[in-house]
Symmetry: C2
């Protein structure tokens, strides 16, 4: 058994793909099928508990397309497969992505069947990048979509990402912090995400720190003295007893007392928050905020906010970090055009809209009232959502997709959605998405061609 | 905004942690709390749809403990936080993990409250590694536990991992293939996982390849000619029509026809499999197998197998790849001992068993009948599950944890579980797990001490 480094990076990401991408690539080359194909990445349907998805992850896909190379080490490994010929591997060494990408910018709410991105390139290139593009867009869209709901439920109170320990691996930990930032999350506990993405990093203290001290009060005193403006965790033994200690500590330290918040992590959070607030207020500690954590999700946050509990921030972990109610959506990356002709398939329940497309978002008084999925060349009423982001393998803008812009866009675009679509409950009726007449008739036409291909 | 490489590797993994680990570390050092602590990593409870968890991910944690370092770059970043003093950062530069680890070997079925691993080290060290240890053990245990169910349902038929595109990021894609191998999955489509872990890599063809050809038959002919022993995807347009083409292709190619299987990916898989089998058999193609994919999970695989459908393999993607029904479990990493004294907390619903522990699996006639969680130094009837795996920061065995051993262990250990625990349905009664009398009385004793600490 061979074990190399278990990390994915720019050097080996080309191999992070499904084997069939490479066998198909060799077949396309062998058959001299080098004409342009368009693949469309979209959600076949929304998860049952989502009124919309928040598109995210584009930047990582563009970065991959820019740096995609097969190293000598990768080719050596592929040479151990008897499927691949020497001349294929030689050609693979020169492989570069030279195609175009149109996409909805990160932070745009999207709906079923709307392209999140479209890749147009010689078919072999567009085919090869499928797995990575899906992996990154799917993950970040899943997580941004979940976080948007938590942020919505918090109604302006801070939501902090505490999920790294239960997210699915290291890459998910990083990309989650990024996607959460786009969705409006205030800060993360993930230090590396802070460094890589320039995010605000925060943290409190763990139960173990309290337990390691012979007395809870000692732990509070030491931490509060060392870290001005810190947060003390009060549920290790008895929450209200611990709040009393915070009050005692305030008296003891006088002006040196700078504790910013207490954190509730178990028990009846609403009841405890009211009681702790009263105790803090009675002691003149109106400035000490109450922060909560412990199994929170959008529904629990909503319940706390609706109860009027005096809580100013939420540390949200697993529920948001794995998008527990909808850890995946039915994302597809499908060939919609090849050699100038729309393509589709006829598999039951898995329709494809042929050709390159555009989505028009129709708005009235700054409120979105419906989308129209159209052929790319159509000009219809509404705001077109897909924009060119890469041409001939280079980003259209030389700047990196700016995270702060994506976050501002998400806030603005979500703000334009109808209230029932922003709500946590499932919208009835759902957001209206129609096909343009031209796309409808093109789809019918191409279905006939596909029926021919099936003969 | 600053963007550096979005990849985690040995160089920066030290920063992939929650900020509070670092603030607590500084506090422990400042308070001269350097005595030995033991942290226990365990599941507080099993997910509602799991009768057991299959422990996995230890190797990645041990590897991390061996290489854990703070680079100059990491320290530069930490120096931008006003919480950290210059002398702390200087000391962090020399940080090494020098502790001991006891753990259940990968591929061992475990139950609620049983330690998956225990870290014993100066408390600051054992604290710091919490986030990464949880992240990796949680992910791989989640995925191995799910895959074990799919493998069980397949009753000897091959299960192939097709999930990379919808797994949560690149690390999940790699670790899933690894965890699935431990759980008995036959192969993966993930090429890089094949290279890194020495796994069998397989693949078929995508709809896009068929669509890109003007006729489905052309696509079949080209692929079958190029790849001896390949699998043809037959549901792009009309499954049974496509099976007829496979039959025609067999006649056309004669001895050169080496297609090993067809793949069904949509529609009524059971009905289509029977019909396709009949058509292939009628044409003398008994050797062409039927492989299925498309939204499979353990329940769907079970339904197909119980219907007696003539299917020899399953390509399983999203359902297994994100462990859709249980994408997380309530994993905890808790201080159970410090300075020679058992520690626990009293938060409602979140009990901790104090001290270092051992788990004894009691077996009768090679069948596990129950586990006893005991204090580490106890010797009780049954097979002890926790073994030393790291001493003074070095692996006890110089060899890497061998994946093939873990896979063999999983097969053997799952084989010793009662049938009702291996079953897909929830076991009633669940697997019996008791506390030893010594652990029970130590827990009571330490609860009294904790009540003191709370005063």
């Amino acid at each position: 058994m061979r074990i190399t480094e278990p990390w994915v990076d720019d050097e080996n990401a080309a191999l992070l793909t499904d084997l069939y991408q490479l066998t198909m690539l060799q077949a396309y080359w062998r058959e001299e099928m080098e004409e342009e194909g368009t693949f469309s990445l979209f959600a076949r349907r929304l998860p049952k508990t989502r009124n919309y998805l928040l598109a995210c992850g584009l930047d990582d896909v563009l970065r991959y397309l820019e740096v995609l190379r097969f190293t000598g080490e990768a080719l050596d490994y592929l040479s151990t497969f008897d499927q691949f010929s020497a001349d294929f591997l030689e050609r693979l060494e020169r492989f570069r992505f030279t195609g175009d990408v149109h996409a909805v910018p990160e932070g745009t709410p999207i709906f079923a069947n709307e392209p999140i991105l479209e890749v147009t390139a010689p078919i072999s290139q567009a085919q090869l990048v499928e797995t990575f593009a899906m992996n990154q867009i799917h993950l970040q869209t899943v997580l941004a979509s979940k976080a948007a709901r938590v942020v919505e439920a918090a109604r302006g109170r801070a939501v902090v990402d505490f999920g790294l320990r239960r997210m699915h691996g290291t890459d998910a930990g990083m990309k989650a912090a990024r996607a959460f930032h786009v969705a409006g999350v205030a800060a993360t506990s993930n230090v590396l995400a802070g460094r890589v993405y320039g995010l605000r990093v925060t943290g409190t203290m763990a139960h173990s720190y309290v337990q390691a001290h012979d007395e809870e009060m000692e732990a509070f005193r030491a931490f509060a003295t060392l870290y001005p403006g810190t947060t003390l965790l009060v549920d290790t033994y008895d929450t209200l007893e611990a709040v009393r200690k915070v009050v005692r500590l305030a008296r003891e330290l006088g002006d040196a007392f700078t504790v910013r918040a207490i954190r509730l992590d178990s028990g009846d959070l609403i009841e405890l928050a009211f009681e702790a607030r009263r105790m803090l207020d009675d002691a003149g500690l109106q400035g000490v905020e109450i922060f909560t954590s412990g199994g929170l999700d959008e529904h629990e946050v909503d319940r706390i906010v609706k109860a009027g509990a005096p809580i100013t921030g939420f540390g949200v972990g697993t529920g948001m970090g794995v998008s527990a109610d909808a850890p995946s959506f039915d994302v597809a990356y499908k060939l919609t055009s090849y050699a100038g002709r729309g393509r589709l398939k006829l598999s039951p329940g898995k329709p494809i809209l042929p050709g390159r497309k555009q989505v028009f978002r129709v708005e009235e008084a700054d409120q979105a009232v419906g989308d129209v999925i159209a052929r790319a060349e159509e000009e219809l009423p509404g705001r077109p959502l897909l924009v060119p982001v890469m041409r001939d393998g280079r980003r259209v803008s030389v700047e990196r997709a700016d995270l702060e812009h994506a976050r501002a866009r998400a806030r603005d675009e979500i703000g334009r959605l109808p209230d029932r679509i922003r709500a946590l409950e499932m919208a009835d009726p759902p957001y209206p998405v129609e096909l343009s007449r031209a796309l409808e008739s093109y789809t019918r036409e191409m279905a006939e061609v596909a029926t021919e291909a099936a003969r």
